[in-house]
């Protein structure tokens, strides 16, 4: 008895929704960052589930590149958070509103 595709999809839906909830409700910029990583992981899981069930490896190549981009994104994003912290002494996203109209 194999696990059907829909189970994997449900799992990544749950993971994605948990990530969305975190991005919308948390105030610490680094926790928001972690939640973005959660969402990214859930999308990667969906891609691999489809790639595996359709018998095509293209999805895996896509996920491979997505991981490389995720690493670059994490590096630059955290550098920005640190630069903001250095200037404003806070990582609370409520207080970082200088670009907000």
């Amino acid at each position: 008895m194999e696990i059907p595709l829909s189970y994997y999809l449900c799992l990544s839906v749950v993971l994605f929704v948990v990530g969305v909830a975190g991005v919308l409700t948390r105030r610490n910029a680094i926790v928001v960052f972690m939640c973005i990583e959660l969402m990214l992981n859930s999308v990667n899981l969906t891609l691999i589930a489809f790639s595996s069930f359709l018998g095509s490896i293209t999805g895996q190549a896509l996920v491979f590149f997505a991981m490389a981009v995720a690493a670059a994104e994490a590096a630059v994003g955290l550098a920005i958070v640190i630069a903001i912290y250095r200037n404003k002494r806070t990582v609370d996203i409520d207080k970082i509103n200088i670009l907000k109209w």
């Binding site: 690493a71 670059a72 590096a75 550098a79």
Partner: protein
């Protein structure tokens, strides 16, 4: 029939059971008589000062960042190494271009001095006649990020 990753799973389970089992058995067997100096953080016999969670120097972040980028580079090397024999020179040139691109980044961080760890200048306690040893403390600016 057990697959390769099945073995990895068995290793994982055995590792978790080993550590958790040891901790639980020790917790059941040991006497529980805490007192403050027993509960204090072990710091080689010294009295611990301050909290563990102090703010790190930003240089740690830059080194971790460089590590992450070259970690990804190494991951790209694995699939290339598997097919290298079949593709020959073409794959070799491809990877040379890839590595050359990242070598530029390496040269940049090297040139900009992100890789050298500047040593903090030792602060010798000033001794003045009649006053005794002056307290030397780091200023707020010195420990800033």
């Amino acid at each position: 029939m057990i697959t390769d990753f099945g073995r990895v799973l068995i290793f994982l389970i055995v590792g978790v059971v080993f550590v958790a089992g040891g901790l639980i058995v020790a917790w059941l067997l040991r006497p529980n008589r805490p007192y403050p100096s027993k509960l204090a953080t072990y710091e080689c016999g010294e009295v611990p000062v301050g909290d563990t969670r102090v703010r790190f120097n930003v240089r740690f972040y830059v080194v971790a960042l460089i590590f992450l980028i070259f970690d990804v580079e190494v991951v790209f090397l694995f699939p290339w190494a598997v097919v290298y024999k079949n593709l020959g020179w073409f794959a070799f040139i491809e990877m040379l271009v890839f590595l050359g691109m990242l070598a530029v980044g390496y040269a940049y961080v090297w040139r900009k001095g992100d890789l050298d760890w500047d040593k903090p200048a030792p602060k010798v306690p000033r001794y003045e006649k009649g006053i005794g040893v002056q307290e030397t403390r780091m200023t707020e600016e010195e420990i800033a990020v």
